[in-house]
Amino acid sequence: MKEEKQQHKTHQKKHSGPKAERKKRKRQQEQQAGTNEEDGRKRNPKAFTVHSAVRMARTFHRTQDLKTKKHHAPIVDRSPQEPPPFLVVVVGPPRVGKSTLIRCLIKNFTKQKLTEINGPVTIVSGKKRRLTFIECGNDISTMIDLGKVADLVLMLIDASFGFEMETFEFLNICQVHGFPKIMGVLTHLDSFKNNKQLRKTKKRLKHRFWTEVYQGAKLFYLSGMVHGEYQNQEIRNLGRFISVMKFRPLVWQTSHPYVLADRMEELTDPEAVRLNVKCDRKISLYGYLRGAHLKNKSQIHIPGVGDFTVSDLSFLPDPCPLPEEQKKRALNEKERLLYAPMSGVGGLVYDKDAVYIDLGGSHAQEEPRPSAELVQSLISTHSTIDAKMAVSKVSLFSGSVALQSDELQDEEPCQENPKEETIWDPEKGRVRRRAMFADDNQEEDEDDSEEESDDDDEENEDEDDMSEEEYEVDKDNDKEVSDAEDCGPLKRRKLKQDVEIDEALAFADSNDELEKSEQESSDDDDDSILGKEDVCKNKRQIAVRDSGHCTDEELQISDEEHNNLMKQAKVSITKSESSENKDDEEMCFETAGALHWKEGLAKKAAEAFFRQQQTAPNLRKLVYGKVMDDEEEKAEEEELGGLFHVSRPKAQMRCRANGIDCSRYPVDIERDWDCEEVLDSIRDCFVTGNWDKNEDAAKLLQEDDELYGDFEDLETGEVYQGDTDKDKDQSDQEDTGGDEDEKEEEEKEKAEKNERLDKKKRLKEKFDLEYDEGESTYFDDLKGEMQRQAQLNRTEFENVDDETRVQYEGFRPGMYVRIEIESVPCEFISNFDPNYPIILGGLGNQEGSIGYLQMRVKKHRWYQRILKTRDPLILSLGWRRFQTIPLYYVEDHNGRQRLLKYTPQHMHCGAAIWGPITPQGTGFLAIQSLAGGKAGFRIAATGVVLDLNKSVTIVKKLKLIGFPYKIYKNTAFVKGMFNSILEVAKFEGAILRTVSGIRGQIKKALHTPGAFRASFEDRLLMSDVVFLRSWFPVSVPQFYNPVTSLLQPVGGKDKWTGMRTVGQLRHDLQVNLPHNKDSLYKPIIRKMRHFNPLHIPKDLQRMLPFKSKPKLQEKKGNVPKNLQRPAVIKEPHERKIASLLVALSTVHNYKKKAAKAKHHDQRKGFFRQKQGEEADKMKRQKEARKKIYKIIGQKEKKRQKSSLKGSGHKE
């Protein structure tokens, strides 16, 4: 975007009033107290010194860090001088007030009222800005398409209902395809009866919106409706915001050309259509070119239709141009243009070979028209364009947009649903998908009056930003609206019939008084408009201008006349080339008046021809041939006859066609390089030759000498002087003459002064060069380079006329272009619906081809299911929407890409698809189906393209199993893994593993096909299963199916179905899942295990210790009867004795036990006593010992002391 320098009003200091006095007082106080900074520095120098070098270094480091963080990688500014209209997309769930908002905004900007809006509407909103409004339907394809081209998104939210899923879906779409500016607009605020409730809702919605867009994103409140429209003041605020907004350049948009078509025409030969209704069509689409340069014959993609090649591309005069002269005033009525051909509003339409004037046509009668008086009044106030508007579809009083008061009743209490709730809205007849969040209900109790006031402040500030002019306009606007309203809708019905009659008469007979007056006024305006548009190239246009209020016949006649004239002109300038001819004609039309355009035609043409001959190099013609005349030549050939064509043998071409392909440029003219003159011809190409004046060393040296001539050689002490002569002269003169003329003196002085100044300047420059430039960083250099490049880009082709310029650099963004496309499916025409946007997205060089794409993908966290490999998925990537079959994979640590069956739940994974080649780094989003699936959040996954290729290397794990059929020590013969010897040979040396974990290796194939010898680290069991783990490359299905939603019948454009998933197919065909019997769960039945007896060899038995020896004694069997002893049976007496004995022994035992317990207690007591005594004894002994040792120690010490003393004495 071009940086527009805003003119700010300078601050005006108050000289009187309370504020000024306050300031004065303060200053006085400061002076008295001496508290300004200068004084502070003097008073307290310590406070301003460096305390810590480390700290200072750190702060310096930090500031530098912050500074560098602000740097963005500089890019060349390629934004067009005159940008195309900014695209404002109005989005929201159904019945939220999108159309009403657009209508109000259009009315706000252009003072015109559109009743029916189809397709994009372009308006001039300010002196430097145009806007295109388009409404986005709720079809997800439309949302995706518009999300890619939008500059600004107005996101409408029904406050009475809350957020709906569409809003979040659109936000996610925007996020993926670059994030355009987004502004939220809350509507239906008048449905809140309770003020507190309203405030709470506002706050809740705002915070939710902020988390989704960014903190502090602008949210507008449209508080209510007045006569079916939003309140003027609020709309005006919104309009101001839009008209001063700065838009961010998005990567995809700036690197690709694109056109949002605002007009479509079919050019198919009617005969072909008659013969075959379903034949492919040829269409032309019109619109502003945006983004990058578009070239003829380049590839484009129309989302919803398919890929095409531009068969012809031409630019047309801007139908909605910006005002030409930039005066310091608001736009006047004439400049507030409106262009919406799909809605039937366009005024004059310039086509390639015709000019269309919207006369109202058949639908003019249908429209409710104001009465004759009203028309008169309108005509007197409005311009022609406006008059035409009136003819077409402007109605001043429309009660058509009625606010449905009953809407407001269907408010339902909020529920704590986690994500979405679908609500059937009986009034609106649709299911609304409310988006709910857990945090929605929080913070409701908080008082948010603060927030509210903040917002108000912001708005006020914004208002201040606006220029005063706009205020004026707004005032005007208000007045008019009120006027119009005064007229009231009461009159309307009565007047309607009259108008109809008038209309009919007017068009039947152009001599009608009323019509005449209207036409005249319109003619005047026509002229003025045409005069402004200096690119008028059309023949008919002249005719229109000439003949004033002409009927159709007249128009035709004048046309013929014109053609005749043209022919004459052609004859007169036979030699000049037709292109020039054309140019010249154009020139004439531009400059000359109504009829004397043909006066100097021949002369001018001749002049132009010679001029071109002189200036235009023949080299271009040599290289590119006669680019401009291609069409002409064709025409000539046709003229020669439908039967015969003149075929000129292109002799040169033919002989060259099979020549030798060599890049060397052989020397054809041999110059005599021994000749001195010839040698001289290149003498200056060498450094030894003469240099240019500004780079000749000798000259530069001389100049420098003048400057820096004075110096002293320090070694020798010599003093050199640059131009000493002058000084000497001067001094001489001074000495000799006081009598010389003063004038001369003065002159000389002046000259000297100038010289000195020059010198100083150059010195200063040099100094600056040395010291200032030294600080320029790499970043600055880079930025400067980019700026230089941008400047060059701007200026290089500035003076070239558009016709040629377009050939060099392509059609530049901002142009209104007409794009012809051939072989478009007939459904595009037959099922055309202007409410669906037609976008022509230009494709880069290789973006037309198909290949494998590897992408990083993540299932959207709000999408409720995981995605399955090989389930068809609809992707929106680049300009395209298409269905494809992805394979998901993860990359292992060794770089192996392993297939996944499903996407991970909360993790990125890779996906490989067969699809259109799109640059890496492009974002995409995935949807599972366009039709039907309304449940939940529709965006299934998002991601980014990582790599493009023509082959993929995704593998899946494959375990081959085999069974040993012969086992030697560590070698086993395995069968069942392969089928032939060849297969085995391929896997020789492969690593094997058994279920029990024994590792091994394939050695060699055996004779039996498929069997092989393998060696293992341990002996196998016959029951072991041998595995071979291998990786099997998976092929990505080559399925690429562009979503052709625009070809669907009207009303069914959102019901496109492509390939169905297997699950869907099963569901639709009512086929059950195929069961693998083996996979079914069955009750587990375990066989009893039978163990064989342990057999120990006899030798081993003998050596075993007795404990481990098997006990060979047989168990005692039943004692034979003869050995059994008889049982003893006691007598009663004996039994008595025995029982007594038992009783006695029991008593005895008890006594013994009690005695033992007693004895134990006694012993315990005794031990305790003894222990106490022992402890006492020990204590005593210890103390005694202590005492003794003390004494001994003292003695010892004494002894030592004395011995020391003694020895000292002795010595």
């Binding site: 440029y665 020397v667 040698l679 030894t688 490049q789």
Partner: protein
């Protein structure tokens, strides 16, 4: 996808067509290749070129009819990597190398190509000339760094061949636009006088004769003598001279001559060869411009493939090869150059120059992986 096949006739400019087809991703069909010739169809060296292109790309589809008179080429993505190729000795390595130089910066992996065959012949630009002129030109467009190199391992003269060169090039995502309108003045002349399987004295004789002419202009002349022996000398005897004039602003002009192949034509004296080569260099200097005549097309290609910015280059008179290349550029990329002739203001600065201006197509290297 839309059928946007470009169709051409005849075998001339095959390399241009294939290069541009690969870079633009458009399939190309070439018909009537030597259809009237006694030996119709593609020659061995062209087949070898196509094979080389198949090696450096991934997913290329090539269809050639039975007689070899029709070629359908559907390009894949440039892959690069390590490539080894035996070039047909009918044409020298320069023929193949020019193609690789044009494609190398736009590959997926950086290219390391080992080309075997004839290094120097009379027809194509030799590897010496390409090394001296094309490599610095690539650097102008931002294709620099460590990887960019052209190494001559062995020399091979026609008809036997047996030479070997290694060309390595880094990959770039996009090229820089250039404004290269002032060539400066020639500051030094360098050169290589090579001889294989002949007397080493021959090289010195060529050097002396060349110097005798060039010394009239500039004293800073150094011509290396390069006598290769044994295994490095290829299969056939021959000798030749390559001269390069270096300008103050970093552009290079070259000229070269080689001896007649063994057994063809009359033997040429090294003195004559040296003189003629020096005269050709003077002729090249007379033509002038910032880019050598053999590299015109390369410069034009890189300008076209730049970002969407204005590039300018001053050239000498356009060679027929570059004129055809300009036409092809228009067909493949819809790029038209603004061509202005410039008459040098001073008498003694050679002939007419041509200022070429274009807006790049905003080409980005799609194959290069970003991770």
């Amino acid at each position: 996808m839309a059928s946007n096949i470009l169709s051409y006739e005849g075998c001339n400019f095959l390399r241009q067509r294939l290069i541009l087809a690969i870079l633009s991703g458009r399939p190309v069909k070439i018909r009537q290749i030597r259809s009237r010739d006694d030996n119709p169809g593609l020659r061995e060296f062209e087949a070898s070129l196509i094979r080389l292109l198949d090696k450096v790309t991934n997913g290329t589809r090539i269809e050639i009819n039975e007689t070899g008179t029709t070629l359908y080429f559907q390009p894949g993505l440039l892959y690069g990597g390590q490539v080894e190729h035996d070039c047909c000795p009918e044409r020298s390595i320069g023929y193949y190398l020019e193609v690789l130089i044009a494609l190398a910066p736009f590959m997926k992996n950086s290219l390391k190509a080992t080309l075997k065959g004839v290094t120097n012949d009379q027809q194509d630009p030799s590897v010496d000339a390409l090394k001296a002129t094309s490599i610095p030109l690539m650097k102008m467009f931002g294709i620099d760094g460590e990887g960019l190199d052209l190494k001559i391992i062995k020399r091979g003269m026609p008809p036997g061949g047996g030479g070997e060169v290694i060309f390595t090039s880094p990959v770039r995502r996009s090229l820089k636009p250039v404004q290269f309108t002032d060539p400066g003045k020639i500051k030094r002349i360098r050169g290589v006088a090579y001889s294989v399987r002949v007397s080493p004295q021959i090289a010195n004789r060529m050097v002396d004769s060349a110097r005798s002419i060039l010394n009239k202009f500039i004293p800073d002349i150094y011509i290396y003598t390069d006598h290769m022996k044994g295994a490095n000398s290829g299969k056939s005897p021959g000798f030749g001279l390559t001269l390069v004039a270096e300008m103050t602003n970093g552009s290079f002009l070259s000229s070269e001559m080689a001896s007649n192949p063994q057994g063809q034509g009359s033997p040429i004296l090294p003195e004559d060869l040296g003189k003629n080569c020096a005269k050709i260099l003077l002729e090249e200097i007379y033509r002038g411009g910032c880019v050598d005549s053999i590299n015109q097309s390369l410069a034009l290609l890189y300008m076209t493939l730049g970002q969407q910015d204005v590039s300018k280059v001053l050239l000498g008179p356009l060679s027929p090869y570059s004129i055809e290349f300009l036409r092809h550029l228009r067909n493949f990329f819809q790029v038209m150059f603004k061509i202005e002739t410039q008459q040098p203001e001073e008498e003694r600065k050679g002939g007419e120059k041509v200022l070429m201006t274009c807006v790049g197509t905003g080409f980005t290297n799609l194959s290069k992986t970003i991770k």
